[in-house]
């Protein structure tokens, strides 16, 4: 599966890693919804590190759609919440 880290690029991840990543991802969502900024930042970095560790980077000129997308490492909780809001990632 192709995962994009915003601002960094894409990596290809083997399915075997998703159980662990899913756990971190759900945790991240819970922290975001609960407004736990420090927890959110910690989990986000853990998730990104895991993706980078397990994933194989795709070349910059590769043309493959991403199936999963992660915020950039410096994204704040508010920014991510905004991105997941009505306006979404691409302004209408």
């Amino acid at each position: 599966m192709i995962v994009r880290i915003m601002g960094e690029g894409q990596v290809r991840l083997a399915d075997s890693h998703f159980a662990e990543l899913d756990k971190l991802d759900d945790e991240l969502l819970a922290e975001m919804e609960g407004g736990d900024e420090p927890g959110f930042r910690r989990t986000l970095h853990a998730l990104l590190d895991a993706v980078r560790e397990f994933g194989e980077p795709l070349p910059d000129d590769a043309l493959e759609p991403s199936e999963l997308i992660l915020p950039s490492p410096d994204a704040t909780l508010d920014e991510v919440r905004e991105m997941l809001g009505d306006e979404g990632l691409i302004p209408s």
């Binding site: 998703f18 945790e27 979404g88 990632l89 691409i90």
Partner: protein, 278 residues
């Protein structure tokens, strides 16, 4: 999986689709271009059919003229046998005019046949081009679909502005248009190269040529008269020689050049050059 990763991915795809819906779709342009090429191919095919029809019509006319020509020859022979040299002269005179028409029609027929062959070849080449374009079109469409989605992702996440996206679309449109124009220009080149755009019936003659033909026709009448007289007189050796020569000469229209050497070096042969000077 229902975390941030998944939600962002789903949300992005939904938004990207919505954004793409609003953009002009160059794939439609490709399909339109292909449709136009098919219409052009249809026109070329109709052109081939038209030329073939004209050729067949000419063949019918030729057949009729040749039949009339032999009928007049028979009439001339009968008239001469009955001692009516004036009638025989008239019949042969008419026959000479017909022979000239036959020669003209044969030339036209050859031209049309050649046009038909070229046009058929052009249609085949165009067909191959259109087929190739169809394959390329489908490839471009598929590539475009993938590239467009990826371009949108790239735009959104690497901070490239919307203008860049528009430039990408503009380039795509330009490429499509170029391909379309190239295909059309190629087709027109084919037609021009094959000569299909020329008028195959432009066979008009000038006055001098017409006058020369008339005089040459007169000479033919005299020659025919001589030949028939010889035939009636029963000079078998001479007759065979004349007939053998005449039979070969007629279809190629070479009588005025060859016949006088054996039979008629007289006054009328020298007239055409005088006309040429006027």
């Amino acid at each position: 999986m229902s975390g941030v990763m998944k939600r962002m991915g789903m949300l992005f795809r939904a938004k990207a689709n919505k954004a793409l819906d609003r953009a002009e779709d160059p794939r439609e342009t490709l399909d339109y271009s292909y449709q136009k090429q098919l219409e052009l191919l249809q026109k070329v095919r109709r052109g081939v059919a038209d030329v073939a029809t004209s050729r067949k019509r000419l063949e019918l006319q030729l057949g009729q003229l040749q039949s009339q020509s032999s009928k007049l020859e028979d009439q001339g022979r009968k008239a001469l046998a009955l001692g009516r040299e004036d009638l025989a002269r008239e019949a042969l005179s008419r026959r000479a005019a017909l022979q000239q028409q036959v020669t003209d029609l044969e030339t036209q027929h050859q031209t049309l046949q050649s046009e038909e062959e070229k046009l058929t070849l052009a249609a085949q080449r165009l067909q191959a081009k259109v087929d190739a374009f169809r394959t390329k079109k489908e490839t471009i469409k598929a590539t475009y679909t993938a590239a467009q989605a990826q371009t949108r992702i790239g735009e959104a996440f690497s901070g490239i502005s919307e203008e860049m996206g528009d430039v990408g679309l503009a380039i795509q449109r330009a490429e499509d248009k170029t391909a379309q124009l190239q295909a059309r220009a190629g087709a027109i080149d084919e037609l021009m190269a094959s000569g299909a755009l020329d008028d195959p019936t432009g066979m008009a003659k000038d006055d001098i040529a017409a006058e020369l033909d008339r005089l040459s026709g007169g000479t033919d009448v005299e020659l025919e008269l001589q030949r028939m007289k010889a035939e009636l007189a029963g000079g078998s050796t001479q007759q065979q020689a004349i007939e053998g020569g005449g039979a070969q000469q007629q279809p190629q229209g070479q009588q005025p050049q060859q016949a006088p050497q054996t039979q008629q070096p007289q006054n009328q042969q020298q007239t055409p050059p005088d006309f040429g000077k006027h």
